[in-house]
């Protein structure tokens, strides 16, 4: 067989999860693993179809996606603007940097009780958790991105009479964009982790709630459906952000 190394890698890449699923299916059917904890993939798939037909899955998914979207916006936009200002203006950096450095190491999951206390059991606490998760990677990467811009480019802006806002728009933002995108990707992953945790505690809807509720009802099939959906979400976000990056930063394209 004559396959290029790349095509062969791709083939193996598709085959290895397929083989694992088949193995799992076989093990579950022949009773070699406890199907109560690890139901066969076919039975998970059946549950998946049932849950999407009943609308339960879509309802929970829509709720989670809405919280993710609002949280990303509320956490990401201020982080972006503040990060740009921190990169460009030393005094802003001097004020904000210690605050970020002091609060960043606190695990976001540890702040959940505080968020529930402050924002209550409603939507606001879930959105706040996502916002927190997105805020830190974006502000840290944006600041680093602006600081990495070559001095000469800022000199050019000054020499050609760029105003503060023009410097923001034509140099700081595009110059920092590659690192900002990296921050957004990290933030998206963090948001996904935190929404799952936040929805498990004190929520009546969302994918995280679905997983937690399934555990309480010992409906393991449903739990696995939730896990698969979250995995697919992460995959979709990565693909989407890669695509956005490709279009937004054509100058970063290699070759």
């Amino acid at each position: 067989m004559s396959l290029s190394p790349r095509a062969r890698d791709r083939l193996i890449g598709l085959a290895s999860p397929a083989v694992l699923l088949l193995l799992w299916e076989a093990l579950a059917r022949f009773g070699w693993i406890d199907a109560r904890f690890f139901p066969a993939p076919s039975s998970i798939a059946t549950t998946f179809v049932r849950l999407s037909r009943s609308g339960e899955l879509w309802d929970n998914l829509t709720v989670s996606l809405g919280r993710l979207a609002w949280g990303s916006l509320i956490g990401g936009v201020p982080a972006l603007l503040l990060g740009l200002a921190m990169g460009l203006y030393r005094p802003v950096r001097a004020i904000v940097d210690p605050l970020v450095a002091a609060t960043y190491p606190v695990p976001k999951s540890a702040i959940l009780p505080l968020m529930l206390l402050v924002f209550g059991l409603g939507e606001a606490s879930k959105i706040a958790m996502v916002a927190l998760g997105v805020f830190y990677p974006v502000i840290i990467n944006t600041t680093a991105g602006v600081l990495e811009i070559e001095r000469i480019h800022l000199d050019v802006g000054k020499n050609f009479g760029a105003t503060g806002w023009q410097t923001f728009r034509t140099i700081a933002l595009p110059g920092a964009a590659p690192l900002i995108m990296a921050g957004v990707k990290l933030g998206a992953g963090m948001g996904l982790i935190l929404i799952a945790i936040a929805e498990m505690i004190g929520a009546q809807s969302g994918i995280g709630y679905m997983i937690w509720n399934a555990w309480q009802l010992m409906s393991v099939d449903t739990m696995f459906v939730g896990l698969v959906v979250i995995a697919l979400l992460g995959f979709a976000f990565t693909w989407m952000l890669d695509e956005i990056e490709r279009r937004l930063l054509p100058w970063k394209a290699r070759g």
């Binding site: 480019h153 050019v156 050609f160 110059g175 930063l249 100058w251």
Partner: protein
Amino acid sequence: MVPPHLRTPAKIAIAGLSKSFATRHGPFVALDNITLSIPRGNFCTIVGPSGCGKTTLLRILAGLETASAGIAEVAVDEPGKPLNAMVFQGDSIFPWMNVWNNAAYGLHMRRAPRAQVREVVTRYLDRTGLLPFADRYPHQLSGGMKQRVAIARAFATDPEILLMDEPFSALDEQNRTLLQEELLRIWDEDKKTVVFITHSVDEAVTLGDRIVVMTAHPGRIKRIVEVPFERPRNVLALRADPAYGALVFRIWGELRDEVDRARRQEAEAGA
């Protein structure tokens, strides 16, 4: 616009200009009492050993540094035009903008009317041979092409004076000669006042109407030499002229002591 009969003869007037920087070992004098008058339309080249403060002088003229003492003034002939535009040493064009937007940068910053931007940028991209590459990004260009973009950007801004800081120093010999020729061709059209810094005596003689030789640290003016060759100049033909060789030799003579002195200073600083 200032009417021609009211204009002062000097386009750039520098008097008693000094610049010192604070360092851990006390003040460092980069420029010491520079007095220089550059007439309107003059192509003034400045040569000096590395570390003689020539870039600092240019940055003060560009408004990127402030002088410690003395004045550096540019006569304004057409209020509303930018005072200066600089062609920087090294990679100064924005990697995130295509060739067109890089060349249009100065005009965009001044919010020039769309039609003017289109006309002026087309003209200078055409003259630098970049028009077919207007959509390209810098990572797709060679070093020579990038420097052409930087030159087009400076000319398109239509400033009162042009400042150039060793713009060709990173290029190979062949590209450098080509770009010198192009620069002279574009400059000949409206003969803006230029201050051009270089460490190459050849380049200074090829391009300049007048050569300012600077001393090693602290930077002072050692000698001002007028270049007699008429314009328009052909770079290669000029180099075949015996008078050209004689002038290069003479300026090298002026410069040699300074380069030696700069080298000794470096050795002492290193010891």
